[in-house]
Amino acid sequence: MKSKRHLVSLAALSAVAVLSLSACAGGGSTGGSTNASGNYNISFIQGVAGDEFYISMQCGAEAEAKKLGVTLNTQGPAKFDPTLQKPIVDSVVASNPSAILVAPTDVTAMQAPLKAAASAGIKVVLVDTTVDDPSFATASIASDNTGGGKSAFDAIKQLNPNGGKVLIMATDPGISTTDARIAGFEESIKADSSFNYIGVQYSHNDPAEAARLMTAALAKDPDIVGVFATNTFAAEGTATGVRQAGKQDTVKIAGFDAGPAQVQDLRDGTISALVAQQPALIGADGVDAAVAALKGETVTKNTQTGFQVLTLENIDTTGKDYVYKSSC
């Protein structure tokens, strides 16, 4: 029975392959499975895996989960893309956790999957981003992004007291947080006649794309004095683009977020100011809200966290704790 032997060895082969994969994968897992004493099992779904903002949020959430004695498991799509995030959300819901902390990647596309999770009896806490109709959510915790946009304009104004041409380097349209930052920034800049606002460029969360757009924008308007980069990748790319064009002395960049790369850029002088959010606080507040809801306590429906503007002056002193982490 040769064919039978083939079948057996085939089955054994694939079994070994998958088992070894999941075994080594288990070793690399950062989930809080070591701390299984808690009754509650919370899943955190990032907007994108491997981004310092979400890693800092994960760190904050993990620390809080450990303190409260609950289990936290983190998952995230490879790109900030609802078509990649939806299958992950569906899988997490299937695993039936007590609560989900999630940063939705699209206001419309993630509405139905997350509502389905809430209908299945899972407490859903929206962190950072939101959806069209968040009424099903237990709580929403996010930075006051409109206020963040205003802070960014104030930073640019401080750096360019005489005004001039200003550009926004955004990521993608349709993301609630960056749209609010842009709205806040636009509101402030339009109220100030000394500044000439020349519009928004969308870099699709790709630093290389942001660099290309920035060099092109500088070719068209060499007298740009300030750029507001709305997120980490946009700021990294903008800094590269400005350096490529040799304009680092005249163009002042205000970045949003404070990952290690931006802080380095701040120290180098490529970026002049950073508007730092408090992702660790958002993550910790998210876990608090989820646990409170699970225990039947009252939960604040909407929490807005604040900002810290980081410059060369305060980066080593009061601003130090606001720098995002690349690992916990």
Partner: protein, 362 residues
């Protein structure tokens, strides 16, 4: 030519190998069957690791639902790869068709079936036009498929952003989202979108394996020059196949609108590569001339089940990509070994099974 042109998934005619080998041996020799076994083993392992969650119908249902749109795209990609071509543009054509269709539906207004039907036709026609452009440039202008579809990948996405200014359209007729997007087949919990995808897959599976059009597809991929000499209209065949791939991407665009309720312009960033990976995992040879529709469907489920299982057992997300990558390379390795064996003429195809790769004969 008969050696390489014969699709592996189609039952081999008994007289081809002199005498009919025993059924089981033949079955295990078919690569798409071997891949199915791998899928079953993966499934069983996750069932062991998460017995209360993983094998639940609610979980299986969502895996099936999430694979449905990719399955529609996988049909066209199977045809394309069998001709030894590639279509990188499907994700962008999907987005572009969705955008144009959403724009038209927005202009008509209303959220009934009339509007939805117009949207469906528009999406398919727009996709078809992109496919025709791809096919024409490949068959007539002789530009390599990789370059043509890389070009239309960028062009379609860019034009979608031009049309919308990069802002997603979020007005989709509610009949679409309620029925196709998240609805079930009446009286069951089977997602309607999955049933639709299955029907289309079966239709095109029959076309691929049982019709002259399908036979010509294999012939072109196996040896284009030979196909031309025996009278196959190669150019027309290639244009038709890329047009088919485009039209299916257009249809997928409407399905995506139904499922996500938005044009998701920034999304679908890895759709093309995921579909290509599924087709190749399913045993369709990247060098053309070999492949099955069944294999593609199994190939779609392997990454989907791996991802779902990994999420459920709580494995760090990065490992999921590593696992899928490993399966992909293994599939191509098997394909290469099989081709090398066939080239040496060492026996019939059925002897070159997955296990024989590890129990090497001298």
């Amino acid at each position: 030519m008969t050696q390489t042109a014969a699709p592996t998934g189609v039952p081999v005619a008994p007289n081809e190998q002199g005498k009919a080998p025993n059924f089981l041996a033949r079955l295990t020799g078919i690569q798409s069957f071997q891949i199915l076994l791998v899928l079953i083993v993966i499934f069983l392992i996750f069932t062991l690791l998460a017995p209360t969650i993983f094998p639940n119908w609610t979980n299986i249902r969502q895996i099936v639902q999430n694979v449905s749109i990719l399955a529609v795209l996988g049909i066209g990609m199977t045809f394309v790869i069998i001709t030894s071509g590639i279509d990188l543009s499907i994700g962008s054509v999907l987005v572009f068709s969705g955008v144009v269709s959403a724009k038209v539906m927005q202009a008509i207004g209303g959220s009934g079936w009339g509007t939805a039907l117009v949207g469906l036709v528009v999406a398919i026609v727009v996709g078809l036009l992109w496919g025709l452009l791809n096919g024409f440039l490949i068959a007539k202008a002789k530009v390599p498929p990789l370059i043509v579809t890389l070009g239309t990948l960028g062009a379609a996405l860019g034009l979608a952003q031009v049309i919308t200014n990069g802002v997603d359209i979020r007005e989709v007729p509610t009949v679409l989202t309620d029925t196709i997007g998240y609805g079930n087949v009446v009286g069951t919990t089977i997602p309607l979108i999955s049933l639709l995808a299955l029907v289309i897959v079966v239709i095109f599976g029959i076309i691929l394996h049982k019709t002259k059009f399908g036979l010509y597809t294999f012939a072109v991929g196996s040896n284009e020059e030979a196909a031309r000499r025996v009278g196959v209209k190669v150019d027309r065949q290639l244009i038709s196949i890329y047009a088919l791939s485009g039209a299916l991407a257009g249809l997928a665009g409407l399905l995506s609108l139904s499922q996500y309720g938005t044009t998701a312009i920034a999304g679908q960033s890895q759709t093309n590569l995921n579909v290509i990976a599924a087709v190749v995992i399913g045993g369709t040879s990247i060098f053309g001339g070999l492949g099955t529709m069944f294999g593609t469907m199994v190939g779609l489920f392997i990454p989907a089940v791996l991802q779902n299982g990994f999420v459920i057992i709580g494995v760090q997300p990065f490992w999921q990509q590593v696992a899928v990558g490993a399966v992909l390379v293994a599939a191509v390795f098997i394909d290469q070994r099989r081709r090398a064996a066939a080239a040496r003429g060492s026996g019939s195809k059925s002897k070159v099974s997955l296990s024989s790769l590890w129990t090497r004969k001298k």
